[in-house]
């Protein structure tokens, strides 16, 4: 007989932050009834949970139905992140968007950008080799990295170079000759640019033009042949540098913050053993993503990495919305949400360059921090939001008629994350509650105490510790 064991709430919360965008207390308690490995399996099989009801989104936000312009494609994606019951589906799409960073600032085609993310969502948990082939045929990527200008008689190296440097192997693992030969192999991989005026923007289509492909012999990474693009990808995927590069990306995104990507050739991983384990699992699985993610989420190094990442703006914003229940459906504010997030340093579908975002501590600066604090505190302080009301009622239901400051702070830290706050932060929170006098849950005092809980949650949202996930 198999004995099913419950899982520690803090560990479930950690998993849901990394494999998703966090969860409410009710969701965590429900998940915690299961063994940890079962929760991981459910995350890895998104088809077990219902899809986002896009009919509802498209009816009330019609501009998102065909992705409109780039901004509407962003809205579409952020809405899905907040509303999804399949969080890993959106998180893996975000992971690949980090690695294969493509920006609408140049592409200027919302449908093409939206379809690229759709591809990451649909195939992101599949095979890395297959994903690279799809990426090489993705119209937004072809335009973003100029492969539409990569011709038999005039190769353009942009896509070939970034494939090697940023999408697979990392700098220092190939020669300039390899870049040139790689580019030649992808000549003729082009797009049909479809004109949208006057009835909106329409997605582009991939087209292979054999008349523009260089069929002659190429020598690439020590291999010689009449290579086409897929042959190049097959060679690239088998390189040890590639598995090391992807393993480090996975560690950086799902486990703990690494130095920025350009420093990787000179700075070793913070946990070389963990990266080695990820790399070997990746190779052994034939470059399949599900076995790798399963191994990561079930590993000790993952479980021990709670609060070892600075939340990205997406993690912070989407997580706060999910936790507080704000914008939990169609809402006129969705249209402006990408613009609100951009000053925090992350405009999804518009990374600063093909290198993607610098992560970890670089998310934080004085301007961004102010916006982060305002965003979370404003929502935690809003007692009309269903998620805040739920947290208040959970605090009240576990209390006697009165509650000490220490107990109140402990309970709120638990419900807001759990958030790991000790030392000076905890002391300040306790001091703040004490200064306001005893917390009473007598019926006449309930509303005032509810507001105090919301205020305390807002202070927790503003804390240094809440920025870590």
């Amino acid at each position: 007989m198999t004995i099913k064991t419950r899982t520690d709430i803090a560990l479930v919360a950690h998993l849901m932050r990394r494999a998703g965008f966090g969860a409410t207390r009710a969701e965590l308690e429900q998940l915690a009834e299961k063994p940890y490995e079962d929760i991981v399996e459910d995350l890895l099989h998104p088809e077990r949970r219902p899809e986002v009801d896009e009919h509802l989104l498209f009816r009330y936000h019609p501009t998102t139905a065909s992705y409109g312009d780039g901004g509407h494609a962003q809205t579409h994606w952020l809405y899905r992140m907040v509303m999804t019951q399949r969080p890993l589906e959106e998180k893996i799409a975000l992971f690949w968007h980090y690695v294969f960073a493509t920006g609408n600032a140049k592409v200027e085609n919302g449908p093409a950008m939206g379809r690229q993310i759709e591809g990451f969502r649909k195939h992101g948990l599949g095979n890395y080799r297959d994903l690279l082939v799809r990426l090489a045929q993705d119209p937004a990527m072809i335009y973003w990295l100029d492969n539409n200008h990569n011709h038999k008689r005039a190769p353009n190296e942009n896509w070939g170079r970034e494939l090697l440097e940023l999408f697979a192997m990392g700098a220092g693992n190939y020669t300039e000759k390899d870049v040139y030969e790689c580019a030649r192999a992808f000549t003729g991989w082009n797009i049909i640019a479809r004109i949208g005026v006057p009835w909106g923007t329409y997605p582009w289509k991939f087209v292979y033009k054999p008349e523009d492909h260089d069929f002659t012999q190429k020598t690439f990474l020590g291999h010689t042949g009449e290579f086409n693009g897929e042959d190049i990808i097959d060679i690239v995927v088998r390189q040890p540098a590639t598995s090391q590069f992807i393993a480090r990306h996975l560690y950086n995104f799902f486990v703990a913050d690494e130095p920025q990507v350009p420093a990787w050739p000179i700075e070793p991983p913070r946990d070389p053993e963990a990266v080695r384990f990820i790399r070997e699992t990746f190779v052994d699985s034939g470059y399949e993503m599900k076995p790798v993610l399963r191994a990561i989420f079930n590993s000790d190094f993952f479980k021990q990495a709670m609060y070892e990442k600075v939340k990205s703006p997406v993690d912070l914003v989407v997580g706060t919305l999910r936790l507080t229940g704000d914008m939990n459906g169609p809402d006129p504010r969705w249209g402006e949400m990408p613009r609100d997030m951009s000053p925090m340093g992350q405009n999804v579908m518009d990374p600063p360059s093909v290198e993607g975002w610098h992560t970890g501590r670089e998310w934080i600066n004085s301007g961004a921090q102010l916006l982060r604090v305002n965003f979370t505190s404003y929502r935690f302080a809003d007692t009309s939001l269903p998620g805040v009301q739920d947290m208040i009622s959970r605090v009240a239901s576990t209390a006697g008629e009165t509650m000490t400051a220490e107990v109140l702070v402990g309970r709120c830290l638990e419900l807001a994350g759990p958030v790991k706050a000790a030392g000076a932060t905890r002391a300040e929170l306790v001091g703040h509650v004490r200064n306001e006098g005893p917390v009473s849950w007598a019926p006449d005092d309930y509303d005032r105490s509810a507001r105090r809980v919301a205020e305390l949650l807002a202070l927790i949202g503003a804390s240094r510790e809440f920025q870590m996930g």
């Binding site: 009816r59 019609p62 139905a65 509407h72 009835w199 909106g200 969705w334 402006e336």
Partner: protein
């Protein structure tokens, strides 16, 4: 010219009106932006309600995309009004006097406008154009929650689809509540987020029951008569948005979720479906393509494989039928497509 025919009748594609724009420009150069609904004035003009953009762009406030446009059926664009008056405009209707009523499903109210006023692009007077406004949010009789489709009945009373209350309500023109019918559910006389509606010559009411993937026909006092669009009759509807009835009683439903207009006979038998046939650009579209030194027009011709896709409906929303039985369909590409019905038709086979 594309012709659909069935049951001794035919529907000929006629032409396309407008383009996706916030501009208005007198003459034939106007358009709309994500049209949500259509209405006809007593003198046959078409009013187009634009849902608009949801975010400001570099040069324009998003609010001015939400508006009402007025055009003739031969695309003489008369002008736009009611800019910056709405959050989520959803339904439009015209009373006997020619006044225009618009529902706002976020603000939970109805606004009334004088259609003779024209607001030049890109000007607007925020919340200053309506001549009346009524409706408050709630669930009690007479209160509204997400009002969408609007239609005047033979008494010139206004039927309002009270979408998030899953019912239809009838009001006088100044907002006095007369009656309500329907509630949430999938049974007869029940609704799931209904969207648009119409009234036929006998006063019977047809409601696009969006969440239940069907149209319900109701008596003037709200009793259920019949249902269209079940899987069994082969005329399956996917999230229908609106409905219209022609002079023969044939019923037209915009299949918002499956990009077609489904046509039924009065007894509910399915006849045919229209899929969109905009094989030529509207005048407004030609203007916009040509004004960039003709470059866009060249590009358009170069990618002729695109045309077959572009001519199809993309999430059709509003539908109206004029006195000549011309069927006018709005879709979210920002245009109207017009079909003419031929009441007796025998296809020439050889």
């Amino acid at each position: 010219m594309k012709t659909y025919y069935a049951a001794g009748k035919a529907w000929h594609y006629s032409h396309t009106i407008g383009r996706r724009t916030a501009e208005h420009n007198n003459g034939n150069l106007g358009g709309c932006a994500w049209p949500a609904d259509l209405a006809l004035s007593p003198d046959g003009h078409i009013f187009i309600l634009s849902r608009g953009w949801e975010k400001d762009n570099a040069s324009h406030n998003a609010d001015i995309y939400r508006r009402v446009s007025k055009t003739t059926i031969d695309e003489n664009h008369i002008g736009d009004f009611a800019r910056a008056e709405f959050t989520w405009p959803a339904g439009i209707a015209v009373d006997r006097e020619g006044k225009v009523y618009v529902s706002d499903e976020y603000e939970h109210h109805i606004k009334v406008f004088d259609p003779s006023r024209i607001m030049e692009f890109p000007q607007y007077e925020r919340n200053n154009e309506h001549i009346a406004r009524w409706g408050v949010k709630g669930t009690a009789p007479g209160q509204l929650n997400g009002p969408s489709g609007l239609q005047f009945d033979a008494n010139d009373d206004l039927l309002v689809v009270d979408s998030l209350n899953h019912r239809v309500q009838k009001f006088t023109k100044n907002g006095r509540h007369i009656s309500s019918f329907g509630s949430y559910g999938a049974g007869e006389g029940r609704f799931n987020r209904p969207w648009g509606l119409t009234v036929d010559a006998k006063g019977d009411i047809y409601v696009a029951d969006w969440g239940n993937n069907r149209v319900q026909k109701l008596s003037p006092d709200g009793r259920s008569i019949m249902t269209f669009g079940t899987r069994e009759d082969g005329g399956e509807l996917n999230h229908p948005a609106d409905v219209a009835v022609d002079s023969d009683g044939d019923v037209y439903v915009t299949g918002w979720g499956n990009n077609r207009v489904q046509i039924y006979e009065p007894n509910g038998s399915i006849i045919a479906a229209l899929y969109g046939d905009a094989d030529k650009m509207s005048r407004a579209a030609e203007y916009s393509m040509a004004r960039n030194n003709g470059l866009s027009l060249v590009a358009w011709q170069y990618v002729d494989d695109v045309l077959a896709e572009l001519q199809r409906f993309e999430r059709p929303t509003g539908i109206v039928i004029d006195k000549q039985d011309r069927i006018i369909v709005a879709d979210q590409s920002g245009r109207l497509q017009v079909y003419a019905k031929q009441k007796q038709y025998a296809p020439q086979l050889f």
